[in-house]
Symmetry: C2
Subunit: 193 residues, 2 copies
């Protein structure tokens, strides 16, 4: 690849592939450069350090879910149904990531442990989407939430069982979907005016 064709996105794609192949402990910037057929200097021109590259690839991984959920957040529709959809979509996205490609999921969990800032930003983005749905519902008389930001945090914390990677081993349990419905039902009741 010529240095001109080398975009940040191409580097991040290659980094994900290298991480999948070698694992987070062994993958190096030199491996990424080799996979792209460029010098490691070319990679460093876009990402100044290995840590920066790893944070960027983690941000990209988490950002995919953020994008899907942002579309849902911005779509029209009654807020209670939207909140239920939003939580179901988050659960399904996380479950897909964990079940569809367990090695990559494990790899990202290692990266997540080392880049807490990226994760904090991710959680802020998601909680902010929930807050917007709650505010919309309050404005439409569908929800009662005197402090929507606080309620958004509560909704997010109360559904940790269905999105926090620490709970991934339970996501394939035969009762997981029933539990999800029960929890979300109770939360929606708690938000009723």
């Amino acid at each position: 690849m010529t240095p001109e064709a080398l975009t940040p996105e191409r580097i991040l794609e290659a980094t994900e592939e290298v991480l999948r192949r070698y694992g987070p402990a062994k993958a190096t910037v030199v491996d990424v450069a080799r996979a792209l057929g460029v010098s490691h200097g070319s990679v460093y021109r876009h990402f100044r350090t290995k840590a920066e590259l790893r944070e960027a690839v983690t941000h990209r991984w988490l950002g995919r879910t953020e994008g899907t959920l942002e579309e849902l957040t911005a779509s029209p529709g009654p807020a209670p149904e939207k909140l239920r959809d939003w939580l179901a979509t988050l659960f399904e996205a996380k479950r897909e990531k964990a079940g569809g490609d367990p090695e990559l999921f494990a790899t990202y969990n290692v990266l997540i442990d080392e880049s807490s800032g990226v994760v904090d930003r991710h959680l802020t983005v998601l909680e902010d989407q929930v807050r917007r749905i709650l505010e919309e519902g309050v404005a439409a008389g569908e929800f009662e939430a005197p402090d929507p930001a606080a309620s958004a945090r509560a909704v997010f914390a109360a559904t940790a069982r269905f999105h926090d990677p620490a709970h991934a081993p339970g996501w394939r349990s035969p009762t997981a979907d029933t539990e999800f419905d029960e929890v979300v039902g109770l939360l929606l009741r708690g938000l009723r005016p």
Copy 2:
């Protein structure tokens, strides 16, 4: 110690101490017998296998919290306040165990992974206590819960953040208590008639 003085409770106390000292990977029944000044045959008279001994000590560890919460469950008082107290007591008990003796907590987390039956029974006991509080509240007109067992599971799952050991690293966070109040407030609102 004479074999006559050797009770199951004394063996379990010694086992906990041995686990604390050597860790779950290295602790053996011979270590337990040595700590008690008896033969390992005497220990095996009470617990037939090493696995049985480890399950019994895990059951004892989890049972302490069950006992405290059972007292609370059986005490009189309005159900909403009782449920809040029950959840706060559970959170505090787990946080104490995690923070007060982190090595023993880590040890028990290893034991818990190997004795899923003991943990399932523990969770069943706790969810059943919540169900009883909910039924009491329904009878008193303080709660609405058409299926108290399902609502108990939901309350328990929605508060995983505050009792599941997978979340222990976050329990000392400065916002943990506020988050707890927000989640429990939302759940109590969801149980209103």
